[in-house]
């Protein structure tokens, strides 16, 4: 237990910061993922073959390739890509992207592929009559989209989105390979310097369990709120 003391004696404060870092990365990644799915879900549902192809390639490739490989691509290729774009605009200095941004982007893109599938499934399972009815009532396009489709879609999507959140949360542990100090990385450092890996990794597991448990409680509440009858 001494190992968990706050201050210079133990690893308590370091682990607490790492715990907050994991939450921050997860939320950022989930947010980026939802942004991606807002772009790709319409592409997936559109009648344009090219758009379909782009969106399908995105979800198939990302969901079929290990997360770790995607992270390595971003970790080793990220600053190169940014420097390439910057060089077009005439900026030729070396650019290093910080691990938080690389990590959240990598996890966000993975998370986005899953949420795109969730949103697509949800919109497709809305009764066709709803679309027709709103057209027949002469609703403007954006009103029918925001007032008819979105509320029904959210109700169907939230249970699956909470699964995506759990996946995203657990995937953040993989960013530790890029050196971002989140729970896994901090435990690795602590285990290395105290030679007590069993304790620190078990403690990390406990922290993740707390996170998944708490988020399940919160998401269940949200789910209940959105699945009220109309």
């Amino acid at each position: 237990m001494e190992l968990l003391y706050f201050g210079s004696k133990g690893w308590g404060d370091e682990l607490f910061t790492a715990f907050l870092m994991t939450i921050a990365v997860s939320i950022t990644a989930m947010f980026i993922g939802i942004l991606f799915s807002i772009i790709f879900t319409p592409l997936k549902l559109s009648n344009n073959k090219l758009f379909n192809f782009i969106a399908n390639s995105y979800t198939t490739v990302i969901r079929g390739v290990p997360e770790l490989l995607v992270i390595y691509l971003f970790f080793f290729g990220g600053s190169g890509a940014v420097m390439f774009v910057a060089s077009i605009f005439g900026y030729n200095e070396y650019i290093e992207i910080n691990a938080f941004i690389t990590g959240s982007f990598a996890i966000g893109i993975i998370s986005g592929a899953y949420s795109t599938e969730v949103f697509r499934g949800a919109i497709q399972s809305i009764d066709q009559g709803q679309f027709e009815a709103s057209k027949a009532l002469g609703f403007k396009k954006y009103i029918y989209f925001f007032k008819v489709i979105i509320p029904q879609m959210l109700r169907l999507a939230i249970p699956n989105l909470s699964n995506v959140w759990q996946i995203t949360l657990k995937d953040t542990s993989l960013i530790s390979v890029t050196g971002l100090v989140e729970i896994m990385r901090q435990s690795y450092i602590a285990a290395g310097s105290t030679r007590d890996p069993l304790f620190f990794y078990s403690f990390a597991a406990l922290l993740y369990l707390i996170l998944t448990f708490l988020s399940m409680k919160i998401l269940n509440k949200l789910e209940k709120n959105y699945s009220r009858g109309f």
Binding site: T60, V61, G64, V65, P66, E67, L68, L69, Y72, L73, F76, G77, G80, K170, D171, S173, L174, S176, V177, M184, S187, Y188, A191, R195, D196, P197, L198, Y201, S202, A204, A205, Y208, L209, T212, F213
Partner: protein, 219 residues
């Protein structure tokens, strides 16, 4: 890009070995825990629930690290025959993967067992078939058919999970890919080749599951 292909292909074999062994052990573990979960004994069923909750609620990376780095710390374990297995990263990875996929498989099988209509079991009972035979000849085949689509997803998730073996020094497909990237600094090319191999494997698994689903439906 072409030069890296032979190395990556031989690493694919390691990945496939890891995957198949973990799936076999995972299926056994999953079946045992699914049966325990459905038991009327509260303690047994809660134990099984706890097992699957812990393994599904924590990242696979933590599980591998606990088994590979953590268990070696226990002095007692070093004296037993288990140490022969636990000092090898290969077996540690397989243990972690098997337990992880076992936890998910147990959930898949449990829900498959629970969705079997009680009428089938009652019909068997009224025909005077012993409960053991009802279990093996009626419940298990129906449960397998019910759980195939979900289990197919689990196989694909596990294929991706084997990439974590590279974090405990194993040279699987991801491990070799990372090594090539870090020596040649060509992340995009290597990603395309290694990712392509993973996608091809996913494609094969997906179609194999679809094929077996079709086959079972006609029976």
């Amino acid at each position: 890009m072409i030069d890296s292909l032979p190395k990556l292909l031989s690493a694919t074999l390691t990945t496939l070995k890891l995957l198949s062994l973990s799936l076999v052990f995972g299926l056994i573990i999953g079946l045992i825990f699914a049966i325990m979960r459905l038991s009327k004994n509260k303690f047994v069923s809660n134990f099984s629930y706890g097992f699957s909750y812990v393994f599904r609620g924590t990242p696979l990376l933590v599980q591998i690290f606990i088994i590979y780095f953590g268990l070696g710390q226990i002095e007692y374990l070093r004296t037993t025959f288990l140490w022969v297995i636990l000092k090898e990263p290969y077996w540690c990875a397989i243990i972690a993967f098997s337990l992880n996929t076992g936890a998910y498989t147990s959930e898949i099988l449990r829900s498959a067992f629970q969705t079997i209509k009680p009428g089938y079991i009652e019909a068997g009972k009224s025909l005077g078939i012993s409960s053991k035979i009802i279990f093996y000849k009626i419940q298990v085949p129906i449960a397998i058919r019910q759980s195939l689509p979900a289990y197919g997803n689990e196989i694909i998730l596990m294929l991706k999970g084997t990439s974590l073996a590279s974090t405990v020094t194993l040279m699987d497909l991801t491990g070799v890919a990372k090594y090539i990237i870090s020596t040649t600094f060509k992340p995009v090319e290597v990603f395309i080749v290694a990712g392509g191999i993973y996608l091809f494997l996913t494609f094969l698994i997906h179609n194999f599951i679809k094929f077996s689903e079709k086959k079972m439906r006609t029976n």
